[in-house]
Amino acid sequence: MHSNQEAKPQLLWLQGVTCNGNTHSFINLETLPQLLEKFEILYHPILPSTKNLHEIVSLKNSCDILIFEGAYDPVLKRGDTLIKDVIVHYAKEADYIIAAGTCASFGGIFKQSAPQRNSGLVFNENITQGPLMAYKEKIINLSGCPIHPEWLSTILNMILSGYSIPLDSLLRPQELYSSLAHHGCSRNEYFEWKVDAKGFGLKEGCLYYEQGCRAPMTHASCNKILWNGVSSKTRVGTPCFGCTEPEFPRNDNYVTKTNMSIPQDVPLDIPKRAYLSVAGMAKTFHIKRLEGKLIDYKRDN
């Protein structure tokens, strides 16, 4: 009879060029202790592990789930071993390979540290290229900068429960990435009636037209699974940066690119003519309720 320890899937968490953001985010998971109980953590840079880094890079083990955080750099070493060799070794016998974060998925911010040689595991921005191409069918990309801890816990629980995990063309789970960051934004009425926010951190206004919000073009669950359980960037009045997409990091954050006042990028898959016609119609009307402040602080109690 197998002991409980032997029955648990073995999880290995390795890092490329990283800021540790996805680890930092993950340890905020409210149910972290219960989740970790379900795995044997072979190695994680900060969580209690059954093996140490030197044992891992000796390449004598295998794992069931390989999680990689950070950009892939072919000359990077950890434990004096090229991570290139380490990840290929563990990829062979893993059932699942999870790219945690945009760097591991597409290259992200840390691709920029050596743009010619860094990439994600199987994507280099939006081109299919990377060290684990041979194991592409095992890859799950959880892009985000960082990912929400519940995105990872959701996928790990789906794996544990034996659910199939349908992926999109960028290998991201449709469970989390089929909706847009735009869905569930508390400013939707302002978006509808084209009432633009005139700055950041304001309760009123939509951030799309003047403040560079990428939410209508970005696949993410940020306004459905709230951050820290309470909020999101757009809800507090800072625009979405599109951090789950291959083009991240962008160099036009906070700015909406326009050509003769026409937004360069309109909401995903909406024909530009259709968008302009509807937006033009909405902009014509001035809805008093929507143009005023939500809370009148000056009113005496």
Binding site: N259, Q264, R273, S277, G280
Partner: protein, 198 residues
């Protein structure tokens, strides 16, 4: 004799209305005048358009859609920005020449009798099919790096104000030459004014 469809009858009314408004003026032309020209009863006319104001708005949409459709064909051609400007100018002048009642209606009824259009045609919503297509033209031209990125209205005003002005002069028989004579220089002027600055 073939029975005309409702759609064809509607187009017939539109055409007749535009003619009469152009010949006699908007206020002088009455619904019975239009109905008579089309060969239908006044009662039947109201089956197509609820009132003169509704007709006025529908005419505007009709013209905008017509011009918008032509503009879209130009937008979708794989030609340079300057060539597109040339084609837009040419198309606009061709309509002014072959269907003067259309542009006349726009200049002399819409622009000059704002009270007729009231709240039904707030802003640019009744000319949306045309304006949207101009937006697409500007968006692509700036995106390609051909035209200078500026506010939409500065560019739109230059382009359409210029063309409208020329057609107005044409309508007043002030131009000594046919409209086509001016196309080349007008295209150059518009292109030079709007092109990207290095």
């Amino acid at each position: 004799m073939a029975r005309t469809t409702k759609e064809e009858r509607k187009k017939g009314i539109i055409s007749a209305a535009l003619q009469l408004f152009s010949e006699r003026g908007f206020y002088i032309t009455t619904i019975p005048d239009i109905a008579q020209k089309v060969g239908m009863s006044v009662g039947n006319f109201y089956n197509y358009f609820g009132s003169k104001d509704v007709l006025a708005k529908e005419l505007l949409l009709y013209i905008s859609e017509y011009l918008g459709k032509n503009l879209r064909e130009i937008n979708e051609k794989e030609i340079t920005t300057k060539e597109k400007i040339e084609e837009i100018v040419s198309m606009y002048f061709r309509v002014a020449k072959e269907k003067p009642e259309m542009i006349e209606y726009f200049l002399r009824v819409y622009l000059s009798n704002r009270e007729v259009f009231g709240s039904e045609c707030k802003g640019m919503i009744c000319v949306s099919p045309f304006v949207t297509e101009m937006m697409i033209f500007f968006d692509e031209s700036v995106s390609r790096g051909d035209l200078y990125n500026q506010d939409f209205f500065s560019a739109f005003g230059l382009f359409m104000g210029y063309l409208g002005g020329m057609v107005f002069l044409f309508g007043e028989d002030i131009l000594p030459e046919p409209l086509s004579f001016y196309e080349k220089d007008i295209t150059e002027n518009i292109y030079n004014a709007l092109k990207s600055r290095s």
